[in-house]
């Protein structure tokens, strides 16, 4: 019972946060970021229904997001023209139903097996739909996309959703509802069986379930929620282009879910929030933000396969045992050289990038509130020394951290990986 209460406490805290955030961050830009974050949270959570819970690695999840968005925007357009009655808050549901329908169509033949076959079919479908969206122009609008006007839709119990904040609350409401439903889904018998299919499909068959059926149900549910995210995208931006279905978007959602941690329900939420922050904040400071995101992603795959959430969860047992302080010094010892290494790498990358984009005769790069002359060898040497030195020192400190870890961990067997 106490576990139930605690889980609910997290949901209430999230709700309060979601309600209060636009009151704190009032500017239009920050509300736009919050909108994007909410949409991405739904999209990533739906992706993790497949990868984390069902063991299906998809390279084409944007298909359901984008097609849901397209169908939703067509409905918005028609309803705006007075073709039928459609209140604005229900637009995402249209996208969800479209995602569900396409999930049924494509899932019916792609969920026979998991693993690499599934990944390859999802890639094929992803390429197919992305290429088709540039060919079937009447449906997708080609490169210009399809636009609609949300103000043309009928009001909902007198609410018109004019202005940024009401639209944010609409999106956030859908986000909370979808997240809660997805969480509940993971606790249903089907959701539990999806985990079983992920871990041991053969045994599931012996117990009497059809692994294909369970995968298909998971797949369709994931398509439904991806469609809701797509519908919210259509509603928020009033335009859906080829970008929403293409492989880059499919890649981004994999990136988000994995950086956050696919083994935990909250993982994709953290991933989506972090990615959106990186995308919007980092891009103010550097043009090569996507490269840094790629670095973080590859580092996550290599050294922290449980993602950011996994890293946080690793520390929970130690925190409960009250031994977190014993880790502070080892972390500081490894953190400072790691920071130096990061500074060096960032400096080198920025200088390198500057070389390729600079105008002729331009030689001074502003970085870290300082100026560097890229034609002189000194900045390069300094950054390279920082990167290399930091790396070597950090590596020397790593065993000490591991020892401190072992000492602090209340469970002798080490932290749970998942």
């Amino acid at each position: 019972m106490s576990g139930f209460a605690r889980r609910n406490a997290i949901w209430w805290a999230a709700l309060v946060l979601v309600v209060l955030l636009p009151q704190v961050a009032r500017s239009g830009a920050s509300i736009a970021v919050l909108d994007q974050m909410c949409i991405m949270v739904i999209f990533s959570l739906s992706y993790n229904m497949m990868l984390g819970q069902g063991g299906m690695l998809s390279f084409g999840h944007a298909v359901y997001y984008g097609l849901g968005g397209y169908v939703a925007i067509h409905f918005m357009k028609m309803a705006g023209g007075g073709a039928f009655f459609l209140p604005l808050p229900l637009v995402p549901l249209i996208g969800g139903i479209a995602g569900l329908a396409f999930g049924l169509v494509f899932g019916s033949f792609s969920t026979n097996r998991a693993g690499t076959v599934f990944a390859m079919i999802s890639l094929g479908i992803g390429e197919l739909i992305a290429a088709s969206s540039l060919i079937f122009v009447k449906f997708s609008g080609g490169e210009e996309g399809i636009t609609a006007d949300r103000t043309g839709l009928t009001s909902f119990f007198g609410i018109h959703f004019r202005g940024e904040v009401p639209v944010y609350y609409l999106i956030a409401g859908w986000m909370m509802l979808s997240a809660w439903l997805m969480y509940r889904f993971s606790r249903t018998p089907v959701g539990r069986m999806a985990n079983a299919v992920r871990d041991n499909p053969e045994r599931v068959e012996f117990v009497g379930y059809s692994q294909k059926q369970i995968r298909l149900i998971t797949f369709m549910a994931a398509g439904f929620f991806a469609g809701i995210a797509g519908g919210l995208f259509a509603l928020n931006y009033e335009i859906v282009t080829e970008e929403a279905v293409n492989l880059t978007t499919s890649g981004v959602v994999l990136l988000q879910a994995f950086i956050g941690g696919v083994g935990f329900f909250a993982g994709p939420v953290i991933g989506a929030v972090v990615y959106t922050l990186l995308q919007t904040l980092l891009s103010n400071y550097t043009e090569i933000w996507a490269f840094y995101v790629g670095l973080i992603f590859v580092a996550t795959v290599m050294y922290a396969p449980t993602g950011l959430t996994g890293l946080i969860m690793m520390h929970l047992p130690i925190a409960r045992a009250g031994r977190l302080r014993s880790l502070a010094l080892p972390y500081l010892r490894i953190g400072l050289p790691a920071l130096a290494c990061a500074l060096g790498v960032i400096g080198l990358l920025e200088l390198l990038h500057f070389l390729s984009v600079r105008a002729t005769g331009q030689a001074v790069k502003r970085l870290f509130w300082m100026k560097f002359d890229v034609d002189q060898p000194l900045p390069w040497i300094v950054f390279a020394a920082l990167a290399l030195g930091g790396f070597l020192v950090a590596r020397r400190m790593a065993p000490r951290l591991a020892a401190a870890w072992a000492a602090a961990n209340p469970h002798a067997q080490g932290a749970r990986a998942r």
Binding site: G55, F59, T116, G124, I125, S132, K138, V301
Partner: protein, 316 residues
């Protein structure tokens, strides 16, 4: 019509053999390590860009010789210090790792060479039309590409079937532990195969760069097609990869030359169609327009109906 057939055949052959240069390495790597290397086409792109950088300094030919080994060394390093590390987390993690690597290489190309297409072109020595039939010219450079690809195909065939190294590689594919027992360093063989495979991809990039243009999206353009090739051919089968490469190459070059649509077919049977509805595109697009999606359609169909591919023995 004859002109069209001859030139589509030639172009399809050039394109198909280029695909084989990429897919041969990919399928070898797959049959050894069981990992589909998402970043394979990224090494192809790196080959083109490195050759471009070298060609601006010392000319095309040094680039042709130097860029592929450079890419190969890079590939070997990735295998040794990246892939082998991730291997312990399983195949899905490896797939995700190569996917991340593809993303990273893409972004590093943008970082170093910029987002614009670079002016990488064929050497002056080969910038002339080799012959001209019915008023259409066939560039000598394409004949050069053809020659290089055929040379690589023969060399690969001879090395794999006739040489001692080839025997060890073939044995390591099916019986890695026994090969290790006989005293061969199997992990080193893996690294070497990975390096050679990526070097071949790099070579494909070096010779394709001037024709297919060198830009940061070039890996994405070919990356998925190469997957189609090795899945259609049958994973792990070199002969299958060869047949599928030519098949896909010809399919794509012939499809862009066919200007008929479903509407024309229906009209031939006396069925009239309207252009009004939103889905009218479905039957009014021509075969030429849907050429880009044909390989993926083939991929999905093969995976549904014949997961072993044309010549493969094992399922994906």
């Amino acid at each position: 019509m004859l002109e069209l057939t001859v030139f589509s055949l030639l172009n399809g052959l050039v394109y198909g053999l280029l695909l084989f240069m990429l897919s041969s390495g990919l399928t070898l790597i797959f049959s050894m390590m069981g990992v589909l290397n998402f970043a394979h086409a990224s090494f192809y792109m790196l080959g083109a860009y490195l050759a471009y950088s070298i060609s601006t300094k010392v000319g095309f030919w040094p680039g042709l010789v130097l860029a592929p080994p450079l890419v190969g060394v890079l590939g070997a390093l990735v295998e040794r210090y990246g892939l082998r590390h991730v291997h312990r987390y399983g195949h899905v993690a490896e797939l995700i790792f190569t996917f991340g690597l593809a993303f990273l290489i893409q972004e590093s190309v943008v970082l170093v060479w910029g987002k614009q297409m670079v002016d990488y072109h064929e050497p002056a020595l080969l910038a002339f039309p080799l012959f001209s039939l019915w008023g259409t010219e066939f560039p000598a450079y394409k004949a050069f590409m053809l020659a290089v690809s055929i040379g690589i195909f023969i060399a690969l065939f001879v090395v794999l079937t006739r040489s001692r190294v080839g025997l060890i590689i073939q044995a390591a594919i099916t019986h890695p532990s026994q090969v290790a027992m006989l005293g061969h360093n199997v992990p080193l063989v893996f690294t070497a195969v990975f390096g050679v495979g990526t070097a071949l991809a790099g070579l494909a990039g070096v010779i394709a760069g001037p024709v297919l243009s060198t830009f940061p999206g070039m890996a994405a353009v070919l990356g998925s097609i190469v997957f189609v090739v090795i899945v259609v051919g049958g994973l792990g089968s070199l002969a299958g990869a060869f047949i599928a490469s030519l098949l896909i190459g010809l399919l794509q070059t012939f499809a862009v030359a066919v200007n008929y649509s479903m509407k024309d077919l229906l009209a031939a049977f006396g069925v009239a169609t309207s252009r009004a509805s939103m889905l009218s595109d479905l039957y009014s697009v021509t075969v030429a327009q849907i050429a880009p999606i044909l390989p993926y359609l083939l991929l999905v169909l093969i995976l549904i109906f014949r997961p072993t591919g044309l010549l493969g023995k094992r399922e994906v």
